[in-house]
Symmetry: C2
Subunit: 416 residues, 2 copies
């Protein structure tokens, strides 16, 4: 008998009507003979509502108590889903993370899963029940409730699928899969029926919001076949059709995948660029600049250090635009006096565009094809960074859409 894990996001669980639709969909799978474990998120808006109550008391509420508070959102949606399933005639039972249990470390508000006990779940599945498990949460070694951080329900679902050796983990969400790029920018973008785990990881880290990056890492580590698909389709959609919909994240790379140079185009407008001009080009200079930035918990994305000219160099890096002000103040007050930079140049009008594809591993010249295509459109490349299966460039942000469309076309991703 096949075992599947379903995960439903906050929007899918956003109202009683939607919860009833989710129940109908699960009933369809149950009646077709699948063993089903369901991991729902809190009803849309609920986690924010709860956290706001705490923030209304104090700007820095205790993390342990925040987890006590926030974990109730999933307990509510799980109980409601179990009730909806029962009312649709299917035996069901909901469990909070601590009941399964999902054991985690004690890093409140961003805990890591340590182990999951499968005994309770298997026993209920054997007796014909649908098992509903609160996502996003667990219990630490001292019996305190923990949460996994934003989007943690994806991770819960993939983790429980891994422990149960589920045939597939289905992440139902409000998009119908992973696209070659954002269809709002390139109407010719098309859904990828299959994407490799490595590509998905790059897409997630580049700002594609489809899946939380930790859940992708988890899926990769434990090789859990994970499918992203739409919860907005008719819940009574033909099951065969549903099992082929969305995007499957796979670990078996076939020849067809290797053939494609590039699978998708990712982009992000959340970047800001900072350049320190004329700093002494001496050992340890990168650390002198970026050490204080890291200490302030600011993530640095791309880093470029120019060729040294008479012992001086320019040093550029990008940060998330939200942290731009913070980093500027830090540089002015601490770093610039210390490294004796001549000048500080900043640019918030930048964007990052990336090509991603496991085909890049076995094909040389993919990056230069990218540079050529951008150059043909007169788009100047300010910074470059690469991984084995990705090349990213920073460009002036007004050219972002043009760059994405150009690359989508260049690498043959346009829908036929």
């Amino acid at each position: 008998m096949s075992l599947v894990v379903h995960k439903y996001g906050g929007t899918s669980m956003g109202s009683i009507d939607r919860i009833k639709k989710v129940a109908l969909r699960i009933v369809k799978w149950h009646n077709a003979g699948y063993q089903v474990v369901v991991v729902p998120s809190a009803m849309a808006g609920e986690t924010n509502r709860l956290l706001k109550l705490a923030k209304d008391i104090t700007i820095e509420p205790d993390n342990r108590e925040l987890d006590m508070l926030a974990s109730t959102g999933e307990q509510v949606s799980s109980a409601l889903l179990a009730i909806a399933l029962q009312s649709a005639g299917v035996p069901a039972r909901s469990y909070a993370g601590w009941q399964v249990p999902f054991r985690t470390n004690n890093a409140y508000t961003k805990a890591r899963i340590v182990s999951i006990d499968d005994q309770l779940i298997r026993s209920d599945l054997s007796s014909g029940k649908v098992v509903v498990i609160t996502g996003f949460q667990g219990i630490d070694p001292n019996g305190h409730i923990t949460t996994l951080g934003r989007g943690g329900s994806d991770t819960s679902a993939v983790a429980v699928a891994s422990v149960l050796k589920a045939d597939e983990c289905l992440i139902y969400t409000d998009v119908d899969g992973v696209y070659t790029t954002d269809p709002r920018i390139v109407p010719e973008a098309c859904r990828m029926p299959v994407v490799s785990f490595e590509e998905m990881l790059e897409m997630a880290s580049l700002g594609s919001k489809v899946l939380q990056i930790r859940s992708v890492e988890f899926a990769g580590k434990y090789r859990v076949p994970t499918r992203v698909l739409s919860s907005l389709t008719d819940p009574l959609l033909d099951l065969e059709e549903e099992t082929r919909s969305g995007t499957l994240i796979t670990f078996e790379e076939d020849e067809k995948m290797e053939e494609a140079l590039v699978s998708g185009i990712a982009f992000s407008r959340d970047e800001a660029k900072v350049t320190l001009l004329s700093v002494p080009d001496q050992p340890g200079i990168a650390y002198s600049i970026l050490g204080p930035v890291a200490e302030a918990n600011i993530d640095v994305d791309m880093i470029v250090q120019n060729q040294s000219v008479s012992g001086m160099t320019d040093f550029s890096f990008t940060v998330n635009r939200n942290e731009f002000q913070k980093v500027i103040e830090l540089l002015k007050n601490k770093v610039i006096p210390a490294v004796q930079a001549k000048e500080l140049a900043t640019d918030q009008k930048v964007a990052k565009v990336s090509i991603v594809g496991i085909g890049m591993r076995s094909h040389v010249g993919v990056a230069s094809l990218m540079f050529q295509a951008l150059s043909n459109k007169g788009i100047n490349i300010q910074m470059i960074s690469t991984s084995e299966i990705r090349t990213s460039v920073v460009i002036e942000d007004q050219y972002m859409e043009l760059a994405v469309r150009t690359l989508h076309h260049t690498f043959g991703l346009d829908q036929i």
Copy 2:
């Protein structure tokens, strides 16, 4: 060091501002050297909101899932109170019922407490923390969440006070104590500084809404000194004054208590009277009539069977007005054909008025003083029932206020 348990109702916890006030009050006790355990209810309206979500799915949701759902209300308010305490500079920690644990049987939605583990609480108290515990809930022998039913937080508070051998259990609520009768009807009514457990039990069962009857039973069984007092006073009210405010339910009857014939006047307009006329006066007739009523889960309050006349008798009883229609249908369809009653007479315009006092034990003639006082005002008594410390009468409901005022005056309860 003195140990106290505080319980705060839903209104006291009804908003962030109110939760902050509750925290201020607790800080005052903590700073005065008390060890404090707090049992908050869910924020006002929250339990109803959660149950309505379930009822929107199905009219008969599963009780186990209802408890998963409803128990989150107290978890939220407890976490928020712990955060408010911490933000006021006092170390605090919140626990859900299952964490303490509060062990209960598995009667979902109306579970009974079996035992409470005091280890965790004592360890936190020893380390100087205020311990916040979710009221209303526990965990059954199989690890499922249970709730104690409406008003269960009072019971949780009294129960944990009993286990901890607390010096006092303080029930903070929106009234400032137990009154000789409802001040809205008798402006001269006065707060009782002390009331005996037995009297409180009678008052609770007669409809005084100050304390849930189960919590009073619990307080009585384990002799927990329990005080009902106002949460609406200034949280910074002088502590000495606060410890003397409200009404203390006591187990030590002093002479002064015995001196008073009557301590309070209770009343209820929720009654309806039903009379079966001319039923055969034969053994088993009461069971033939009331057996089916009990089977239908309808509570019968007073019962009167008249003197038999030529083998026939009239049989009257009262039920809650909410169940009046149900009982009438039952009598017409089942009971009357079976017992061959001649006629059915009904009266919804009745009220019950009761005098309560442990002084009645040692003084004869208290009941006749009551009957005389009512008679002097021309109020006809339709039914009478008595216990060791209570006498109740059913009268026409338009005379209820007059009867309550008359008795309040007759038994010397008017405020001087």
